[in-house]
Symmetry: D2
Subunit: 440 residues, 4 copies
């Protein structure tokens, strides 16, 4: 049975194509900087956004009416959903998918049910992966939707909730390993607070650190080769989340000696909610040595909540890929579409429109970014701008050759009077735009 | 000569007073939790905001026309300004002041001038302090106004600018020590970037770490007993500042092993610009062990720049003091008015109105916070809420007694099904308001 | 049967009371400025927030598990909910309630069902009102939750949706009249757009104007004596809503000649989402002659979505009441608690804590505002500040006695050189705080 | 004498050019939709941003050190500035410029000086225009920088300030007419408030309306053929500005019967500060019939103040031009660069880089928008989406053929059950991106 019967497999037809259900830029076999677009982009479709969310929002009911959302036996519906999902992945032609444990299997009413259901569905997914060749970019556990997690999972005031969360992560990580997942993600959607009045920040940080330690040890124990990833987000559903942004998570990991165990999964919309550009968060993650993977989406620049729209700014994506490419590209990470069609986009076709357009945008951005990196005028400018730090004087400062007092005396003796040199921001912005919109 | 001739010394007259230039709540000798209000609050007036800023903004010229702003010999004007400042401190009756090096002495046109002018003015200030008994809460150096710092001070692409900044800090820290300053503050107003396109984040972080190391070593060398404080701010004048917020600065310090050398000077308006409540930043600083001092002001909740208004929400201040008091109060830190009267408030009286009202607000908030702490229902609720972590099960988890797998097995074996318990946010908010507005 | 069996009727016990379920400030019979607190405040409990919302958010399931949320016959559940609601109103002792049509009656699966269910429940509510004396502040229709309204109600691209919405409003307005409602509210939660790419702004504005016209005519026809109210909100669930803020709605009404037919229902949280203070929106509504009623709540100053928390800032509420009182107080409007307990506050007691604390805050704020108005130093300052406009020169300008050219000549001839006079913002802020925290 | 000696006239060299000081896309003679790019874009360089601002910000001194910023005779410096400006305009090859009265002439210390200086400089500018062929897009008066305007110009509490402002506008409008200006702009930078506590909103609105009336009458009297434009901005330097956004200004004009006298000058950065997309504000202005001209720049999406950066998002500009072109393009309006190079961009070349890149972006965007308009799939989708409103049923509703009651009865009788149809947002977003990044 087909859930997308009237929709053909999506193919690359080139920029001239008028076909709304074809790629115009994502020629997956095209080689750029020594790899194919498919190898560079490592695109994943996200189970929750595309197959679980019913089109509801905080003011309105679901609008989508997918067959697998209809009433019926929960496990049957879960299999229908998996069938639909793998049909979608296959027609779209993307190599990866991602899931939460409770996206793929009904949670049931007890830990026993959860384990049984999840185990059966992992078998089912394994077979689906074999049948289609679609791979798992990462798995994760949903530790935020059930009422038990209302006050957090690892940071819950009740240690039994911590234990429940540990159980889910244990199973989800084992399942991820079994399904060949290349990473495992932790998003602490409720690991924060609604009000400091009832929250012990110091305790909760300790709990979170313990939890992450246990996950890292379990990974070692089972020999999972993938990366552990933490996904920063500043707020929503909480008033405040501990994993606020890249720098905050890095600081937390460093404090607890975990900085070598985890890398970061950076989401565009979470970056902007935290008051940063997407570019900033990516660049910061590289500067701090914790870049891992990307949740590709966008927020609305005027709305203050997580809109999870499909990424459609090639300009913004080019800057993100510029950072990724000049640091060597993804290793185990990839571009996961943490993005949902708008609530009004109720047709199955809309799911394809959203992904097809976004994939073309990624392909365009990657190519533009590759052109930027190949003749890297930004880097050349930086080399020249910081050249003073490569002189003897600069190196002596950085290597501890001066105290504050000796540097001060030296400066005074030499009558230092340094002049500001132009940062040439406008010229560099032109370099970027000229690459994006340049001759081809 | 008097600059505030017609304004009397401000005295405590009690809540019934109709005198606009009297304290109604700040009875400095009143004892609360074993200390006087003066000892608790450790109020400082800020040189720059109150005596240097001419009432200009980005769209308009200065409106204030103070005598010491008029054209004339720079050193004479600096002494007039100091005279006015100390007359103000004395009439206001506050124990402390704070300054930037270039607030008190003309910068001149060379390092030589800078050193001479500053040195002469430090002599002058020393005498003023002796004459009045006013003390220095902290000193700092202005590393952001001069064009040489347009691209940063410690993080400048030019090491000569780093050296110039080091010279200023060396002198400012020495001066702070000589003047008996109880802390030294670093605010990195230009330590960030306008665009990542021309900025090497990794390099600049190394430079900043080196700079901070040199400052910490110099402090040890000269035997300065005060605290070194870093002041977080997310942005403005930069697009992005490295010292974004409390957690980010703590992470930076931890990464470079500096977490024991520095504490934080937390500004209310900077907290809100970073997307946090003032309460959050104070509570986080305590949770991370880096609380130092406070820049007391407020931002406009609807405007996105640093408005530095006088703090006028007793409700907000009470929560800040609640955290401060339950952690034992200030040690070397204090409440510095990093606040300026509005550009339209051009009269000398307005300077007094701003400070008098704000000081009363601090006094009110401190008293309410003391009442909260004395019978701490918030803390009692937390004790009970987290009680599970003090059981054997909770302690075993936290002390590493479980692996992810053993905890998962244990949870499954016991058929754990934890239920969420109410967080009682509304009741706790009522506890706070009932204390603020309660029977007296 | 009782739904809040263990909770006593809430009584006024005075500021000394330690009872968490008593009023400490809301003595409903206390007289202020010639009216009782009950008459001034005209408090309403909101059906949806307190009895319909299950404690879900966009990342999590409902947490509340109220008896009337359990599976069962829809009409029976609706009656249980009404029983619980009126028990709550009665125990709380507040005079009013408010509802959406679909809050009180199951929507059913057809217009026929809707009409029948709603009609039966209106009978039920009528009886409840008679039994308890609780009155209806306003009714409204839910034109945003059902999928048919995904693209708007009056502004829907499909006129049949417009017709469906008209049907609901016709019934809801008739029901409001029948139940003695004192106002009727329209909130256009989906009257906006997700993207301008698929939206005809000009068409949709015409549709909305037609709809409002029809409502105003219907009101006249049926002789409804209450006020029609529009509730501004800038966004959420939409990307952009036409009724952005007070000034925008006023402009729309003026353009279509509807400014005398509608007044505004101003919500605190919607004000701040639109970039305005609550005070601003109230003051603007009075300046434009369109003030009607208030949705009393608050948003989180750091979060960008509608948090609908209980109002807990007496400082903020005092400024709102200051505007309301100096313009004569509410006429048909009132204070509706468009507020919900936090998702973590799952106990029935929490519903009471939320309302009790907020009611005390309203009472406190009203009293402080009354004190401000009684000896209105703010108004006195304004009189003096604008006095020039009451001189012959000022009046001549305003009455059209000058052209630009004659005024310019006159100014030049007189060599005008006006000086800025202090706006005394800090002194006036002190006046407010000294009233809020003053001697009692 | 040349101020930009080493900089050649900027020429179109095509997309392949490697010349940083050449246009790659702005071929001013290229024809699109029947007009040349030059005729479509009507680009203006802004005197203030490019020649007056010294590179200062609220935390730092000017960095630019232009020759005409040096100390000296004010009128000589004004002429040097004009010489530099017209050399710049000519080398850039743009057809228009814009100015404030006090940008071009020293304000002096009295109205007399102001009039004399301005009059002499208008003579000078007239000659410059004749010599170069550069034209004036619009003139305006600076009613916000001088301390006299600290509390507003037309909305000042002092009618003498109103008179002073009227004098400036009278002269600036006369000068604009004499110099052949095609529009006259009013930006009310101080027409708002710092606090409602000292502000009479109702009075100030009346004053503003009177002022605008006088300006409109003066325009008629002197026979100025250009358009009068109001520039909305929500805040900064004020806490709140009356001309908040397009809808608010339209509402104000409508209330006072001025809607036919004024059109709007829409600035991208002001749009985003008001919580709207640039696209929204342009589309709204057309829907309300008040579109006039554009201040082309951009804000920083993460910073909350007016950064006035050069527009560099072709994606954003394309949507703006799409609206402009489908409504017939500019009439008297144009694209004014209300944009400044960053404070760090201190070299004269940076002024050119900023403009050259931005002009290319405008050219690119105009061409992409023209392609969107030529085969307007967005419009086609809308036609089909709203088709129901063109049926008899739809038309009958809109023309008043139903009352609420008859429409309700009709809906019930027909058992209406309208279904939501997809809004296809993702497909339409793809249409836009496929045009921007399509085959060429």
């Amino acid at each position: 049975m087909s859930y997308f019967e009237h929709i053909p497999a999506i193919r690359y037809e080139g920029p001239q194509s008028e076909n709304a259900l074809a790629f115009r830029h994502y020629d997956k076999t095209k080689r750029v900087l020594g790899k194919t677009l498919e190898e560079h982009l490592r695109i994943a479709v996200c189970y929750w956004h595309t197959f679980c969310w019913p089109g509801s929002d905080i003011f309105g009911q679901g609008t989508f009416h997918r067959p697998w959302h209809q009433p019926g036996d929960a496990m049957e519906r879960a299999q229908m959903k998996a069938d639909a999902a793998f049909e979608f992945f296959t027609k779209l032609g993307t190599p990866y998918y991602t899931f939460h444990d409770t996206d793929v299997a009904p949670e049931g009413t007890s830990l026993k049910h959860y384990r049984e259901n999840f185990s059966r569905m992992v078998d089912y997914l394994e077979k689906k992966q074999q049948d289609t060749g679609v791979k798992l970019l990462w798995g994760t556990a949903n530790l935020f939707s059930h009422p038990r997690y209302a006050a957090g999972a690892a940071t819950n005031p009740n240690p039994e909730v911590f234990a429940y969360a540990a159980t889910q992560v244990c199973h989800a990580l084992d399942a991820t390993q079994r399904l060949g997942g290349e990473n495992y993600v932790l998003w602490g959607g409720r690991e924060g607070y609604e009000t400091p009045l009832n929250t012990d920040l110091a305790r909760e940080r300790e709990q979170l650190a313990r939890f992450l330690n246990m996950v890292a040890e379990h990974k070692q124990k089972i020999g999972f080769k993938g990366m552990l990833l933490i996904e920063p987000k500043p707020q929503e559903p909480t008033k405040h989340q501990y994993d606020y942004d890249v720098a905050t998570v890095h600081g937390f990991l460093t404090q607890y000696g975990l900085q070598n165990e985890f890398r970061l999964n950076i989401e565009a919309n979470h970056a902007t909610l935290a008051g940063h550009s997407f570019h900033h968060e990516i660049a910061t993650a590289f500067a701090l040595g914790v870049f891992g993977s990307v949740d590709a989406n966008r927020g609305d620049p005027q709305n203050g909540w997580d809109t999870d729209q499909f990424p459609n700014s090639v300009e913004e994506l080019t800057l993100a890929f510029y950072e990724i490419l000049r640091h060597g590209g993804f290793t185990t990470g990839g571009m996961n579409f943490d993005a949902k069609v708008r609530r009004q986009s109720v047709d199955p076709e809309d799911l394809f429109y959203g992904h097809v357009g976004a994939i073309d945008n990624l392909a365009l951005a990657l190519e533009r970014a590759a052109a930027l990196v190949e003749n890297d005028r930004l880097e050349q400018f930086k080399q020249q701008r910081y050249a003073g730090w490569d002189t003897e004087f600069g190196r002596k400062i950085l290597s501890g050759g001066y105290t504050l007092a000796t540097l001060s005396s030296d400066a005074a003796a030499r009558g230092l009077n340094p002049q500001h040199a132009s940062g040439q921001q406008e010229r560099l912005e032109n370099v970027v735009n000229r690459t994006i919109y340049g001759a081809r």
